[in-house]
């Protein structure tokens, strides 16, 4: 078979490749490595750093919201002039905190940290490839991300402070340095950092797509790919199509800021002066931003859903329910995600007719999302569920996805959104459905694949404690925000004392802040577990979760090239858990049907013939060299 030839050929090539890399030094092995596993870990560690950083920012501004009377004098050594003489956070710095928190969480943690880690780590391992299609581009992808991180971080150390116009950086606010301090150098750094970030994402995405299409091992047809891979595949495609639009928006904004163009600016009188710009439209920027911004939600979410599908199936000891429906709904979500962006703009003055179209499309996207939830729940039904830490976090994801998804039905309805738009209801909604859900997906993935990443097990008990505090904590932080939002509290407010209608809920706001502090603190349990286990954890068995997928057929600490010998072939889909008649409750993908006559379904018996011819071809090819 043609495919067999190609793949065997690739293997040969990579075998040579592997020898070259054995002699790498510290720099090529750990810093400028081209090994997808090392790059994945680099993304992971950077992502964890950013998660802590972004989380800390949120706790700082939660202190202001929860305890407006409290003196924050003690933070002066850290924040210096950003603490006012009265011991309060400077209102403009509050906005900078919110902006950087949002940017960091969405892009640096849940895009780079999540996709970067797991796409890199799992794609070659689960499809049976030696590495990514281009190790070099993959390395560049990380280093562009690193550079972007350094620049974003540096904006905290300049006098005018980081960007502060919200993570959506709507002009004219973000275009006019005279409108707020953060729109000066801080905004320039933001734009440069994001441009580099987009380069990183595109380099990564191209690699993911190419690798998945071209480098699957023998027998790994598309319909035998684990859902993780499907999710990474769709994610990369969405990213490839939408990030360039943000790039364009950022570029035009740079022009408006620095070269006097008027893409987004018109009829502005600010600082006692009428600007010359005419003819631009701030709404245009919003269209461009959300053309990325909404797909971004799914860029963040799909990998987490893929990871969860895998973990829930493994730990329920059941095939994922509706494998094809899961792929179908991801495909549908991926397509629809491009045509719902304007639901973020119902009350921006956009033509109301557009509003009705986008409302229709938005509520349609709820259907595949609902299908996914039902499929997860059905996967649990009659399972034999093991609550590993990874499983717990996956269940947490399903819970958040449901709770947060429900409120999307309110916000997608333009008539209802009039009142809810830009209130805390929105904050509650997106933190649950995208923030916390994806965050839990990421944690689940770390717990689940840690043995493969570091060859050791994490401590499960600490994992449980971490889960329960975080799970309850997240609900305590974000659930009350629904009430606050229904009451009309606007988001991005430094304090609520100026308005009578928003003067209540001091108790709820304090509760939220306390819960946020607890939740953040609980992450240190995880950190300890993560770093301690790296060196002192129990050595991991080859296949600790009794999984079916390919990554567990590699050695405990796979070297560059992943499999010491030939890459194993794949004979079945990845969800043969608890198959009737089988001796064990899982059958790895590498086990041919010919070896499991006792559990084969009728149509699978017919596949046995193909297997042997396949196998012969491999032997013949293998003999040649």
């Amino acid at each position: 078979m043609a495919t067999t030839h190609i793949h065997t050929h690739t293997d040969v090539h990579h075998d040579d490749h592997e020898h070259e890399h054995h002699e790498g030094n510290f720099w090529t092995n750990y810093i400028f490595s081209q090994d997808h596993k090392v790059i994945a870990k680099q993304f992971l560690i950077t992502g964890i750093f950013w998660a802590l950083f972004g989380g800390t920012l949120s706790v700082i501004f939660r202190l202001q919201l929860g305890f407006p009377e409290m003196s924050l004098e003690w933070m002066r050594p850290l924040l210096g002039g950003w603490i006012t003489p009265e011991g309060k956070i400077d209102p403009e710095f509050y906005l900078a905190l919110v902006t950087m928190h949002g940017t960091i969480m969405v892009f640096f943690v849940l895009t780079a940290g999540l996709s970067g880690t797991f796409s890199n780590f799992l794609i070659p391992l689960q499809i049976g490839a030696r590495d990514m299609a281009s190790g070099f581009m993959n390395m560049l992808s990380y280093w562009f991300f690193f550079l972007s991180s350094v620049i974003m971080l540096s904006s905290f150390f300049i006098e005018t402070g980081p960007a502060s116009g919200g993570w959506t950086v709507y002009p004219p606010l973000s275009a006019l340095p005279q409108a707020m301090h953060g729109s000066g150098l801080g905004m320039t750094l933001w734009l440069v950092a994001m441009a580099l970030f987009i380069v990183s994402t595109l380099l990564g995405g191209i690699n993911y797509i190419t690798t998945i299409i071209n480098m699957r091992t023998r027998g790994m047809s598309f319909t035998r790919m684990p859902l993780t891979i499907w999710a990474f595949f769709f994610t990369a495609i969405i990213g490839l199509l939408s990030f360039p639009v943000l790039f364009a928006a950022a570029l035009l904004l740079i022009f408006d800021r620095s070269f006097g163009t008027s893409f987004f600016l018109s009829d502005i009188y600010i600082g006692g002066e009428a600007l010359a710009n005419v003819g631009g439209s701030p709404i245009l920027f919003q269209h461009l931003f959300w053309f990325l911004g909404h797909p971004e939600v799914y860029i963040v979410l799909l990998p987490a859903l893929g990871i969860t599908s895998e973990i829930i199936a493994t730990n329920s000891r059941k095939p994922i329910f509706g494998y094809k429906a899961m792929i179908g709904s991801m495909l549908f979500i991926a397509i629809l995600s491009f045509i719902v962006w304007a639901h973020h703009m119902f009350v921006t003055g956009m033509n109301p007719f557009l509003g009705s179209i986008f409302m229709l499309l938005t509520l349609i996207i709820a259907v595949p999302s609902a299908v996914k939830i039902f499929n997860y729940v059905t996967t649990l039904w009659k399972g034999n569920i093991r609550f590993t830490s990874g499983m717990l976090f996956s269940i947490g994801l399903v819970s958040f996805f449901l709770t947060g998804g429900i409120t999307g039905i309110f916000l997608g309805n333009s008539a209802i959104d009039i009142q809810l738009h830009d209130t805390y209801f929105v904050v509650a909604h997106f933190h649950l459905v995208m923030g916390s859900a994806s965050f839990f997906g990421m944690l689940a993935g770390i717990y689940h694949w840690y043995p493969k990443m570091f060859g050791r097990m994490m401590n499960e008990k600490l994992g449980y404690v971490h889960f329960w505090i975080t799970f309850v904590g997240v609900y305590m932080v974000f659930f009350p925000m629904h009430y606050i939002g229904i009451a009309g509290f606007p988001r991005r407010y430094y304090s609520f004392t100026n308005f009578e209608f928003a003067s209540g809920f001091t108790d709820l706001n304090a509760l939220v802040s306390i819960a946020a502090i607890l939740t953040l603190s609980a992450q240190f349990i995880f950190l300890f577990n993560f770093f301690y286990s790296m060196f002192r954890g129990r050595p991991a068995p080859a296949n600790p979760w009794n999984s079916t997928t390919l990554e567990w057929t590699t050695p405990r600490n796979p070297g560059h090239g992943n499999w010491p010998g030939e890459i194993p072939a794949v004979y079945r889909w990845p969800y043969d858990y608890s198959k009737p008649g089988a001796k064990e409750d899982f059958i790895p993908q590498t086990v041919p049907y010919s070896e499991t006559p006792e559990s084969n379904l009728p149509h699978e018996n017919e596949l046995i013939k193909l297997e042997s011819s396949n196998g012969n071809a491999i032997v013949v090819e293998g003999d040649k060299h």
């Binding site: 003690w74 209102p91 709507y170 004219p172 606010l173 006019l176 600016l265 018109s266 009188y269 600010i270 009428a274 701030p282 709404i283 059941k318 095939p319 329910f321 509706g322 094809k324 429906a325 009350v347 921006t348 003055g349 109301p352 509520l363 259907v367 609902a370 299908v371 039902f374 729940v377 009659k382 399972g383 034999n384 093991r386 590993t388 717990l392 399903v398 429900i406 039905i409 309110f410 309805n413 209802i416 009039i418 009142q419 830009d422 401590n459 008990k461 449980y464 404690v465 799970f471 609900y475 009430y483 229904i486 009309g488 606007p490 100026n498 209608f501 300890f528 129990r538 068995p541 969800y575």
Partner: protein
């Protein structure tokens, strides 16, 4: 002192965690090497999910009912009553779905927790089930969309001819309102004409501007359609009238609008809420800079008669700033003074010597 307590508390918690950690590692080492990866904590976790479900759902329903009045704002507009209704219908539908799915999920977690020797059911798909839970949500959503669409179309439909037109202008960090005056038509403006005094950028060559007047509070009539014309001078802002369920961005260079009918005067609302201090408010809901959180305008709703009376009492902007008569083309000055309510004497004072040049240049 408090810092010390906090530090001690943190240290204590950390020590406890470390102890848990040590003990659990020791125990797992002590327990032979055999890896039954499922131990007693499995059932604990399963049980905790049930506890979580009961406390979570219980807390949710308790708070939602017990504190209903504290998180729902009274509504005081016609379309607001409608969107509120839609909101609560959606709430009812989704909460039912939410509760059912949640319970099923958590019960499954408990019921199907690991048991030695049991084998899970191999159940890869069922097309009927999948079809059912694609179609049912689709139908329910279609119904919600349909009602939402109808409301949205009504809300965004053009305002009626005789609507009360009021302009709200946003700038960092204040709101001003402009009323059309006796002619009931707002005069032209241009952003290049804005200056420290002419904050609306009134184009005084347009005779509709002469009687326009300014207000720092938003006065509205009850029971009459109001068409808010909204614009911004510097950056984006957003008009939010929480009690009227009104929200619309203010965009520099692109005027927007929102029409609505208020159903309760400030007085009536004071009675209804039992709060004699009650005031309607206008807030900004689009981040606009450091004063975003304090960008407020007071709103006063009158009966229609009182509103007309209030309007009649207001002085036109031009009469408050008569030196701007200079910018009125000479041919229009007379009518400007009449429309703006400026006495001939005052008018002469501010335009003296100017007439000649203006006329001459024409």
């Amino acid at each position: 002192m408090t810092t010390l307590i906090v530090v001690l508390g943190v240290v204590l918690v950390l020590m406890i965690l470390y102890l848990i950690f040590r003990i659990s590692t020791l125990v797992s080492v002590a327990k032979s090497k055999k890896e039954t990866d499922v131990d007693s904590s499995n059932s604990t976790n399963a049980l905790l999910f049930i506890v979580f479900m009961i406390l979570g759902l219980g807390g949710f329903f308790w708070y939602s009912f017990a504190h209903f009045d504290s998180y729902t704002l009274p509504v005081a507009s016609e379309h607001g009553a409608l969107t509120d209704k839609l909101f609560w219908i959606t709430m009812a539908v989704t909460v039912v779905a939410f509760v059912i799915i949640s319970i099923i999920k958590f019960v499954f977690l408990y019921q199907y927790q690991y048991k030695e020797g049991r084998k899970a059911k191999f159940y890869p798909d069922n097309h009927y089930l999948e079809l059912a839970w694609t179609i049912i949500p689709a139908i329910v959503l279609a119904l919600l969309i349909f009602t939402g669409l109808r409301a949205w179309n009504d809300i965004t439909a053009p305002a009626s001819e005789d609507a009360e037109v009021i302009e709200v202008i946003a700038q960092q960090f204040a709101w001003t309102a402009r009323y059309p005056g006796k002619d009931n038509v707002l005069g032209d403006y241009h952003y290049q004409k804005i200056d420290a005094i002419n904050e609306f950028g009134l184009d005084l060559t347009d005779n509709k501007t002469f009687d326009d007047f300014k207000s720092l509070e938003l006065h509205l009539p009850k029971g009459k359609e109001v068409l808010l014309k909204i614009r911004a001078k510097d950056v984006l802002h957003s008009v939010f009238l929480p009690h009227f369920r009104v929200k619309m961005d203010a965009v520099p260079g692109m005027p927007t609008q929102f029409k609505f009918i208020v159903t309760k005067t400030t007085e009536e609302m004071r009675e209804e809420t039992g709060n004699p201090e009650f005031n309607y408010e206008l807030a900004c809901t689009e981040i606009c800079g450091q004063g975003h959180f304090s960008m407020k305008m007071n709103v006063i709703v009158h009966t229609e008669e009182d509103f007309a009376k209030w309007k009649a009492e207001q002085e036109s902007w031009l009469s408050q700033n008569p030196d701007y008569l200079k910018n009125v083309p000479a041919g229009l000055r007379e009518s400007a003074m009449i429309k703006a309510g400026i006495s001939a004497e005052t008018g002469m004072k501010f335009t003296q010597g100017d007439f000649g040049t203006a006329v001459g240049s024409n």
